[in-house]
């Protein structure tokens, strides 16, 4: 028993990622954790999106299944799994069957390199960011095959739109990413493509890359932030599944479980690109002001945040429990909401324990930043009309791409300014 605890302890105190340590068991545990966490996140996003969007649109959203519709995603999942699985007679059955899996695989695989903390990643590749961009762009293959295999007009047009869109926005996205990689090369360790290395470079240079060479970092961030919305086919760039034009775009012919795979993939892709943005520009797992507000007091203050967040959520639950209708019909729901609050409060209290607090805060800050992006996604959806196809292409090729190129050159020039200056002086004053 003691040996087992020590075994676990050695994992927790290790300064390597499971992949880096070459430990298959440990890596498997991490993979399962990430997969489970991602599924929970998608379920939570489903509920949150509907609720937040509803409140933006002066309505309530799901209210019936569970208190404040908390069980709605579960009810939806059950409905989707029980639905008849239809493969249209005219469809190319094999490709139709494979397509959703390609999309899901691409969306999940990228999480192999996402760093939730300095050691909390399944593995740390030296080409991490390249891997992420490469694998996440594979999902376009799934979408195109889905549209093609459906053998129907709307999905076909949706697939065409989607492939053109994703390919063109990847270029701008790549340019923004390269500008960050140039920034990492200013660290003493030299440039890196590793996701963990990029965050460590920000730590070493003492600022998030969004503020680096103001406003260059900010511009790069904006290019990426726009391109990533287009990349995940979300509003205002949701042309491939534009409901009012193409009914449901590339997944028009899909139903039940296969459809839910597309849904799962879309949301995990959103989380994936958001985590790239967080890692590259917003300091990944670093807490706010890691260099300015140092010392044990500040460390303590910031490490209390996870617990406080959960207690706050619990407080919201309790407040709403008090506001529930007093009618006996609502008794179960009221108790359920209170119970949910108690669970959240307990998690919050556990997060105050020193050993947990210290280990969990990296994950917390990373998740909080990704969560902010998720909120942005919902906010966009509530605010913007949809771009037209030619306008989308125009924004991609005529605005983002040139801006990205200029940004790249400027970043290089500014990054090399001391060397350049020395060089110039050498030329002018021999």
């Amino acid at each position: 028993m003691h040996g087992f605890i020590q075994y676990i302890q050695s994992y927790l105190d290790s300064d390597k990622t499971p992949g880096g340590a070459g430990n298959i068991f440990w890596a498997t545990v991490y993979i399962l954790l990430v997969f489970a966490g991602l599924s929970v996140a998608v379920i939570a996003m489903n509920w949150l999106e509907r609720k937040i969007l509803a409140h933006m649109q002066v309505r309530l959203g799901p209210m019936r299944v569970g208190p404040h519709g908390l069980l709605q995603p579960i009810a939806d999942a059950i409905k989707l799994l029980l639905k008849e699985d239809i493969i249209p007679a005219e469809a190319d059955a094999l490709v139709f069957w494979v397509a959703p899996f390609i999309v899901v695989l691409a969306a999940f695989t990228v999480f192999v390199v996402v760093p939730f903390g300095p050691t909390h990643a399944i593995t740390d590749m030296n080409i991490g960011i390249l891997f992420m961009l490469g694998v996440s762009s594979l999902s376009v293959l799934g979408i195109v095959t889905a549209g093609w295999a459906s053998n129907s007009h709307y999905p076909l047009i949706g697939a065409l739109r989607s492939s053109a869109q994703m390919v063109s926005y990847e270029v701008a996205m790549g340019l923004a990413v390269v500008s960050v990689i140039l920034m990492t090369s200013l660290s003493s360790e030299g440039g890196t493509l590793s996701m963990i290395g990029i965050v460590q470079a920000q730590q070493a240079q003492g600022e998030w890359f969004i503020f680096k060479f103001f406003p260059l970092g900010l511009v790069g961030f904006f290019i990426f932030a726009i391109a990533m919305v287009a990349e995940t086919n979300r509003a205002p760039f949701d042309l491939p599944e534009a409901e009012s034009e193409l009914t449901a775009g590339f997944h028009t012919e899909y139903s039940g479980f296969r459809w839910s795979l597309f849904f799962l993939a879309e949301y995990s892709a959103m989380i994936a690109v958001s985590s790239i943005a967080v890692t590259l520009w917003l300091g990944g797992w670093l807490r706010p002001f890691p260099n300015a507000l140092t010392g044990p007091t500040w460390d303590l203050v910031f490490s209390l945040f996870p617990g406080i967040t959960f207690l706050f959520l619990a407080a919201i639950c309790f407040y709403n429990t008090a506001r529930m209708p007093k009618h006996p019909l609502f008794r179960v729901q009221t108790m359920g909401l209170a119970g949910f609050g108690v669970v959240l409060a307990l998690i919050g209290l556990i997060l105050f324990i020193h050993g947990v607090r210290v280990r969990v805060q990296d994950i917390y800050w990373f998740t909080a930043k990704v969560g902010a992006f998720m909120y942005l996604y919902i906010w966009y959806r509530g605010t913007f009309p949809r771009y037209r196809f030619d306008q989308l292409m125009k924004v991609g090729w005529k605005v983002l791409l040139p801006t990205g190129l200029v940004l790249l050159i400027l970043t290089a020039l500014v990054g090399m300014r001391t060397e350049l200056w020395a060089e110039l002086q050498g030329v002018w004053r021999p």
Partner: protein
């Protein structure tokens, strides 16, 4: 028409070879499609995303309203007209009642006229709100829909309090009104006017200067004033093309000549201008309502009309400015209790003719925008 050959009928059987030897794509949009506002079916002929031409197939909501009229008395037919343009039922009722009144040679008393104008203008706002919500939804902005429906609810509440119905109101009777305005009607209307003014600003805040909205609507679905007249297009679509033609001013009916209001016109005849024209129209309707509610005279609400109506032999055409354009009723009377023939000139049906002209050479997404901006109601197109 600028070029009559440009609108030759579509040959849907033999797809042409286009760029890179790709075949043209013929796709079928509707009758069950989220953005065709009911059961409109559009057959699109596409080159990639570009629309080479389209054809509307209508009739999925045909109920034979005009034929029904021939077997009903004048009074009995009155509720049927509400079912044509069901989002502007009050306007339909006004047009029909006035047409029959003209045939009978009676006039509704002033008090009835004022209340009619208030309800009709409220209905115009409700209709435009519904148009705005669905149009924005088609272009991809979901939020305005809920804002407009929230505010339209207040109008429907007033209708409900007045006559018990919300949508197909049957608010007017031939010769005036059946119901006196309920207690607090004026107050409700005034409250509504004050309530909705900032709300219209709110819609505009979401859309008018929104970059994406501008790009999606400016220069989309252009139609010139000349083409509008040639096709018989009326209403906001005509006015947005720069033709200042509003029947409330041009051939004043009811008592519209008593009220001061402007007729907004556009310049470019594109989707954005039509949007702006309708937004201004909502404000102008509020202006009319404000004036009317201040000046409701006392007096009877019903003119002297016989219980059994037997209009003299003859025919009459009467048209009003419905929210969507000129709504005309042509009634032939053979002197019996039932009309010999009623022909309705529905604005949506006539405006829909312009769809092909407005969409050629544009993209698929624009077809949706243009269907939205034409503001058609299929109940009225098919009757």
């Amino acid at each position: 028409m600028t070029d009559p050959n440009a609108l030759s009928p579509l040959d849907l059987e033999t797809p042409d070879k286009t760029f890179l030897d790709a075949n043209e794509l013929v796709i079928n949009m509707g009758p069950q499609h989220p953005a065709t506002h009911g059961v409109l079916r559009v057959i699109l002929r596409l080159d990639g995303e570009k629309v080479m031409g389209l054809e509307c197939v209508i009739g999925y909501l045909h109920r034979g309203v005009e034929k029904i009229a021939e077997n009903r008395t004048y009074t009995m037919f009155n509720p049927y007209v509400d079912r044509m343009d069901y989002v502007a039922a009050v306007s339909n009722g006004l047009g029909y009642c006035e047409a029959v009144e003209k045939l009978l040679n009676v006039e509704a008393p002033p008090r009835a006229q004022y209340i009619r104008v208030i309800l009709t203008e409220l209905n115009r706002i409700a209709s435009h709100q519904l148009w705005l919500g669905t149009h924005a939804l088609d272009i991809g902005a979901i939020t305005p829909l809920f804002y407009t429906f929230r505010d339209r609810e207040e109008i429907l509440k007033i209708f409900e309090k007045y006559c018990g119905a919300r949508l197909t109101t049957h608010a007017f009777r031939i010769g005036g009104l059946q119901y006196e305005a309920y207690d607090g009607f004026e107050k409700d209307v005034k409250n509504f006017v004050n309530f909705v003014k900032p709300k219209i600003d709110e819609y505009e805040e979401l859309l008018t200067t929104n970059r994406i909205w501008l790009e999606r609507t400016k220069g989309v679905g252009k139609i010139s004033g000349k083409d509008c007249i040639a096709l018989g297009v009326t209403g906001p679509v005509l006015r947005a093309s720069g033709v200042k033609w509003d029947l409330r001013k041009a051939q004043p009916y009811a008592n519209y000549k008593n009220f001061a209001f402007e007729i907004p016109t556009g310049e470019n005849g594109d989707t954005y201008d039509r949007y702006i024209v309708r937004m201004v129209e909502m404000r102008q309707s509020l202006r009319i309502i404000e004036q009317a509610v201040e000046g409701i005279p006392e007096g009877p609400i019903m003119a002297k009309v016989p219980k059994v109506m037997k209009p003299p032999v003859g025919e009459i055409y009467h048209s009003i400015e419905a929210p969507k354009g000129e709504l005309g009723y042509f009634i032939v009377s053979d002197g019996s209790t039932q009309p010999y023939r009623i022909r309705v000139r529905p604005p949506s049906f006539v405006n829909l003719q312009a769809l092909d002209l407005m969409c050629r050479g544009q993209l698929v997404a624009d077809v949706i925008a243009v269907i939205g901006t034409l503001d058609i109601v299929l109940g009225e197109v098919d009757r």
